[in-house]
């Protein structure tokens, strides 16, 4: 890819990492640092932008350029940076409260514009930094400090939201699975444009074992639906379950009960987002069979390159001239 030779330590800053011991963020940090050694992009061209929350401390621990900004607004800052500097590799690290609650508007607009940014949404289904309130991805009925009688908020499915926001790349992975995380990161970096990656991340202090259905030794084999491009969607320890399209929606069936031709073959490059969307609806919260991997990966011009192209096109008729501008509305001379 290039002659850059990095080790993980090249991406570690001199700051002490201060997440709670056992936090899933450590694993994601290690996965990202390891991945970037192989990414083929010079370290000085990488910028990590974050908002507010536990995950938002991420840039301080990366020995790249970094900007820890304000709550929910990281996609806006990243948008300005990526569109003014198309030469940079711009990453947004955010959480479920940051991206989906206070910053929901910015997330959907950055995705629909296809700004060339990679968005890592650490979803732990809880507010960690403010010490344990429910979040927009917490399940209905969740008892927290701010919902002592149980949450009455219906949660977002972040992957569904991203697909509905016209995102050109949408994926989901798990903090504990470093190989899968790095595979998804690789797909995201190879994609030109916005890449949205939901990372299920365990908060062992305020919401421990939220993803046990996907990480527990016994549960994970039956519940992980690994999406692989060009492959029929089959899962379970011995491939006993599969996904088919029926009545206009994706459904889980016993593999033995269907004709193999009926099994849905995964194709993230479909222009129409409908199939990716219905796959995202196989689980609304990760308490049963849940798809992981790349849901959608289509090609669309990026906002930054289109912005740049308009300037290039305009300047192809000759560069602008300030004196000419000042005289453009008609002049008269006083002698």
């Amino acid at each position: 890819m290039s002659n850059l030779t990095y080790t993980r330590s090249d991406f570690q800053s001199d700051q002490e990492v201060r997440w709670c011991p056992g936090c899933g963020d450590y694993t994601v940090l290690a996965s990202v640092q390891s991945f970037m050694t192989q990414m083929g992009i010079p370290r000085e061209n990488i910028v990590v932008v974050s908002g507010i929350g536990c995950a938002a401390r991420f840039p301080y621990y990366m020995n790249t350029y970094g900007f820890h900004t304000i709550h929910g607004r990281a996609p806006t800052i990243a948008t300005g940076l990526a569109t003014s500097r198309p030469d940079l590799s711009v990453w947004v690290v955010t959480g479920d409260g940051d991206a989906l609650s206070i910053g929901g508007n910015h997330l959907i607009h950055a995705l629909r514009r296809n700004v060339n940014i990679k968005v890592l949404l650490f979803n732990n289904q809880i507010y960690g930094l403010t010490k344990g309130q429910y979040s927009p991805t917490s399940e209905v009925g969740k008892r927290t400090k701010s919902t002592p009688f149980g949450s009455i908020d219906f949660p977002f499915n972040p992957v569904s939201l991203a697909i509905g926001s016209e995102a050109s790349f949408v994926a989901r992975t798990l903090d504990m699975d470093r190989n899968h995380t790095q595979y998804v990161l690789g797909e995201a970096v190879n994609h030109t444009g916005s890449a949205f990656i939901e990372i299920y991340q365990n908060c062992n202090v305020f919401n421990d074992k939220a993803f046990i259905a996907l990480t527990g030794r016994s549960e994970r084999t039956v519940n992980r639906i690994n999406l692989q491009e060009g492959k029929p969607i089959i899962f379970g320890g011995s491939g006993e379950s599969c996904v088919v399209m029926e009545d206009g929606e994706a459904r889980i069936k016993p593999t033995a009960s269907v004709n193999p031709d009926q099994i849905l073959v995964h194709d993230p490059s479909r222009e129409n987002p409908s199939v990716a969307f219905t796959i995202s609806r196989l689980s609304h919260t990760p308490h049963g069979p849940t798809p992981l991997g790349v849901f959608r990966n289509i090609s669309r011009p990026t906002y930054g390159s289109e912005m740049q192209q308009q300037i290039v096109d305009a300047q192809s008729r000759g560069p602008g001239d300030l004196d000419e501008l000042f005289s453009s509305a008609g002049t008269w001379e006083v002698t």
Binding site: V49, Y65, I70, G80, S84, D87, D321, T331, V334
Partner: protein
């Protein structure tokens, strides 16, 4: 009417008059025609001398319908010339405006020099073979414009050229409008030959090449000029809002000059994007009006503590909340100075007139870049939409405001220290992504002095807070002292800021000519204030501060200098009249 007003302004400028305009229109896009809320007006003062306001009481009023007459007649001076479209004063038109009897018939207009023109008929006859149906009467304003061109002896050529260019794709519209224009002009020649015409000779302005410019266009051009002077690409992020949107529109046209414009999903995203662009090394600017700037407040504090250069434009309008979006006020001064959480001082500059905007904008950018700080640049609705001749500078004569990016480590062992301050300016280095060896992290958490690492150390927070404040206060040594005009040995100093400059100056100059001892000064820099301002204020027994608010600069002056001041304050959605300031000056002189 805005079109007719602007054409009259342009042809007057081309003729060589000095001029100042005051457009006024409803916030509604197509407010019902002929009703009182639907009245759109355009006031212009032309002169053969250097003027600074759109005038107090017009000498001549054109009322296209009864509603316009009812809304604006009170402004016309006694004995002034009143031109009406007589055919609009029918039963329906009178009813819409709430007249029981026609003011043309009941003698109520006897004190004016009334000229009734059947504009509908003239228009219909003039355009009969060119357009048909409902389009016919659209050219009525050109009849009025043609008549005014005759009455004030304006050349028609600039109007003709503009019309041909503007409607180039619609030749029938060009033909109809020009036919109406000539019909109006000829109506003057043929029917009013005995009437005295107004003769306003060209003004003796300083030599140079001039263009007619509105405040919003000037702000856009000023930003482009600042980007040229700073040798940095311009990135303008904004969300549509009256009356700032025209800055975005103007900038969006100039891609050949490398301008990037970003219409964001909201006000917060607009400033977020420009903070990102600033981090990346652009001249970053966001523009809005009061309600929108409120939404940006949190992000301004981020830029302030991250110490990134940024210009935040606030084209003030009448508030609070939606208020009166198309009317001017100077009510965001205290908001600009204090409207943020935490200890967060930043430089504030205010434009004075359309012709002052380019220079003030470049100055705002200079301060932002040199001191690595957000700067608030105030304009208002009066400046934004008003127009004035502007003497064009040569690009080569503009100041160099460029600052170098950091290119190599500034600490021991090849370490980059993002908060190691410059000895003179207290500014921190600007190291942009892509620079090898200067990888660093910044953010909203308090930073350790020099290293920029996160710090909760009590003494460090005190030091950083003091450093940020000192950095801004020290800019007082890098701006010109406030200049006092008029009678320097006066007892009274009139002090102003922003768009009241012209009116205030005119009132004081008039009184000086009459022998009154009055001095006056105007502030472009509202924070920090000029270093000599305290001494100036204390050298006068009395200080009067006219402002379109309830006393915001007065509050600042009292707080900073323990100097009491008289106020002249109003929030009526209209600029000051010279007469209002004059009356108040005389009152204060006698008190």
């Amino acid at each position: 009417m805005q079109l007719a007003g602007n054409r009259f302004a342009d042809t007057s400028a081309a003729f060589g008059n000095d001029l100042f305009t005051l457009p006024s229109f409803p916030a509604e896009i197509r407010a019902p025609a002929g009703t009182l809320p639907g009245v759109s007006s355009f006031q212009i003062q032309i002169a053969d001398w250097d003027i600074s306001t759109s005038g107090d009481r017009p000498d001549c009023l054109v009322a296209m319908n009864p509603a316009a007459l009812k809304t604006d007649l009170a402004d016309l001076r006694q004995g002034g010339t009143l031109i009406v479209n007589s055919e609009a004063f029918d039963e329906r038109g009178l009813a819409k405006a709430g007249y029981e009897d026609s003011p043309l018939m009941d003698g109520s207009l006897n004190q004016y020099d009334l000229i009734e023109i059947p504009m509908n008929t003239i228009t219909k006859e003039a355009v009969a073979d060119k357009v048909s149906g409902r389009s016919v009467l659209r050219s009525r304003n050109f009849v009025a414009l043609g008549f005014l061109a005759w009455l004030f002896q304006r050349p028609l050529e600039p109007i003709i050229t503009w019309t041909e260019n503007k409607f180039a794709k619609l030749p029938m519209v060009v033909a109809a409008n020009l036919a109406a224009l000539r019909a109006g002009y000829n109506f003057g020649i043929t029917t009013e030959t005995s009437r005295s015409i107004f003769q306003v000779k060209p003004a003796s302005l300083p030599a140079g090449v001039y263009t007619s410019i509105t405040g919003n266009t000037a702000l856009a051009w000023g930003l482009i000029a600042a980007s040229y002077c700073a040798k940095l690409p311009l990135y303008y992020g904004s969300y549509p809002i009256t009356p700032a949107s025209d800055i975005l529109h103007e900038l969006a046209r100039h891609k050949r000059l490398g301008v990037r414009t970003f219409q964001a999903e909201d006000e917060i995203a607009a400033i977020g994007a420009v903070i990102g662009a600033s981090f990346g090394g652009s001249l970053a600017v966001t523009g809005s009006s009061g309600p929108g700037v409120s939404l940006k407040s949190e992000a301004i504090s981020l830029a302030l503590t991250a110490e990134l250069p940024l210009v935040v434009v606030n084209v003030q309008r009448a508030g609070p909340s939606t208020g009166m979006p198309t009317k001017p006020e100077q009510t965001d001064l205290l908001f600009s100075l204090f409207g943020r959480h935490g200890e967060s001082p930043l430089p504030v500059l205010a434009c004075a007139t359309p012709s002052d905007v380019v220079e003030t904008t470049i100055e705002a950018a200079r301060i932002a870049l040199k001191y690595m700080t957000p700067v608030i640049l105030l304009s208002d609705n009066h400046i934004a939409n008003g127009s004035e001749p502007w003497r064009i500078p040569a690009a080569a004569d503009l100041p160099d405001i460029s600052v170098p990016f950091a290119s190599s480590p500034n600490g021991a062992g090849g370490r980059f220290l993002p908060y190691l301050r410059d000895f003179n300016t207290f500014s921190r280095p600007w190291a942009i992504p892509g620079t090898k060896g200067l990888e660093h992290r910044i953010g909203g958490l308090e930073k350790e002095n020099i290293s920029g690492d996160i710090s909760y150390n009590p003494d460090n927070h005190q030091l950083m807070t003091d450093s940020r404040a000192w950095k801004v206060a020290n800019i007082a040594n890098d701006i010109p002292p406030v200049e006092v005009h008029g009678e320097l040995d006066a007892n009274l100093l009139v002090l102003g800021w922003g768009s009241s400059k012209g009116t205030m100056g005119a009132a004081c100059r008039n009184l000086n000519r009459e022998g009154y001892k009055v001095a006056y000064a105007h502030l472009r820099y509202l924070n920090p204030l000029p270093a000599n301002l305290g001494d100036v204020l204390h050298s006068y027994e009395k200080v009067l501060i006219p402002e379109l608010n309830t006393g915001q600069l007065r509050y600042v002056i009292r707080a900073n200098f323990l100097k009491d001041a008289y106020g002249l304050n109003k929030v009526t959605g209209t600029p000051f009249y010279i007469g209002e300031i004059r009356d108040r000056i005389l009152e204060v002189l006698e008190s």
